[in-house]
């Protein structure tokens, strides 16, 4: 039934406006579509998620459903729409999924945030969310934030990574930052890399990754 209503809404909108025009359903229609996310039928939930693309404030409802959704196709549809919506509130909610105990959901959130960044992040919501996550008390969340940075072309990314290797006490957060500095590090990272080697002098991976980053920086400087 919800699917039929959803299609009816879509049909009504399509008839009322010329093809190609940007249209938004009314608040009542969006409410109905949001309710469709709770249908017991996965096809109806997926359809509702797709139709919510035209409801600019649907992000929070979509993320709320994503956190509970078990059907892979519905999850994929929700994530696609979240990326297209590029809604700052939804981006912050999506970042909250990094705290989930569901590994698949965590990875999907990382991927979605990366895709948002790659797709242009028109709302500019990703960098401030990441900056906030880097200060999170949970080291795993800080690691995931660094993982997302891989796709963020923001002028402050290297500075954030340097701050991590200079200040973060958790070795794995520093290790994640070193992995990325191996790729994007510049001369500005040289002294901090030397210092992180001293700070974690007995850790073989930190020594390996910092040496690799230093080697790559020297190589790229000599080109």
């Amino acid at each position: 039934m919800a699917l039929l209503r959803t299609k009816a809404v879509e049909g009504a909108v399509e008839k009322a406006v010329p093809p190609g025009a940007k249209t938004f359903p009314g608040a009542a229609d969006c409410e109905e579509l949001t309710a469709g996310l709770e249908s017991s039928n996965a096809t109806e939930r997926r359809q509702a998620a797709r139709d919510l693309m035209r409801c600019p404030n649907a992000g929070a409802a979509l993320v709320s459903r994503l956190k509970r959704e078990q059907d892979l196709a519905v999850r994929a549809a929700i994530l696609t729409i979240l990326i297209r919506l590029d809604d700052p509130a939804a981006t912050a909610e999506l970042a909250d999924c990094l705290r989930s105990e569901d590994v698949a959901l965590r990875n999907e959130a990382i991927e979605a945030l990366r895709e948002l960044a790659v797709a242009g992040d028109r709302s500019g919501a990703v960098p401030p969310v990441l900056a906030c996550l880097l200060a999170d008390p949970d080291p795993d969340v800080r690691i995931f934030a660094v993982n997302v940075m891989e796709s963020v072309s923001h002028p402050d990314v290297e500075r954030w990574l340097i701050e991590v290797i200079e200040n973060d006490s958790q070795v794995n957060v520093c290790a994640a930052s070193l992995e990325l500095l191996c790729e994007i590090g510049t001369e500005a990272a040289v002294d901090p890399l030397v210092r992180v080697k001293t700070r974690f002098a007995s850790n073989a991976f930190i020594q390996f990754a910092a040496d690799l980053a230093l080697k790559r920086i020297v190589e790229s400087d000599s080109r």
Binding site: V103, N147, E179, A209
Partner: protein, 123 residues
């Protein structure tokens, strides 16, 4: 020579683990995520898997579960993750891992566990 498949999306980690395992006399191949690892496991027989948990496309748990679902013979699997939380350790064993190590892994620790999994402890 025993063959190990390293499954990890982080290039630096793959290089680090490869260096340790090769120094211990293992032949090493790499996969960047669970999907690529599944493809490799269908084509070749490995003696040991070294699997990260958080990876794009298909995570480490999904990879081991999918091996079982597709009835691909699973060699011993060491799961490695940055997460020290017990929740992931339990999930790793449930997914089919034989051993769970927290990154960053010490070279001697990795070699010892790899040999233990292969019944070569003490070498």
């Amino acid at each position: 020579m025993k063959r190990v498949l390293i499954v990890d999306d982080a290039a630096t980690v793959r290089m680090y683990h490869r260096g340790i395992l090769e120094s211990g006399g293992f032949a090493v191949e790499e996969a960047l995520n669970g999907i690529e690892a599944l493809e490799k496991a269908l084509e070749a027989n490995y003696d040991l898997l070294l699997v990260d948990i958080n990876m794009p496309r298909l995570d480490g748990f999904g990879f081991l579960k999918e091996m079982r679902r597709q009835e691909i013979p699973q060699p011993p699997a060491i799961m490695v993750s940055t997460e020290a939380a017990a929740r992931d350790e339990t999930a790793a064993y449930r997914a089919g891992a034989n051993c769970y190590l927290v990154k960053p892994v010490r070279p001697s620790q990795l070699l010892a566990h790899a040999r233990l999994m292969l019944g070569e402890a003490g070498r």
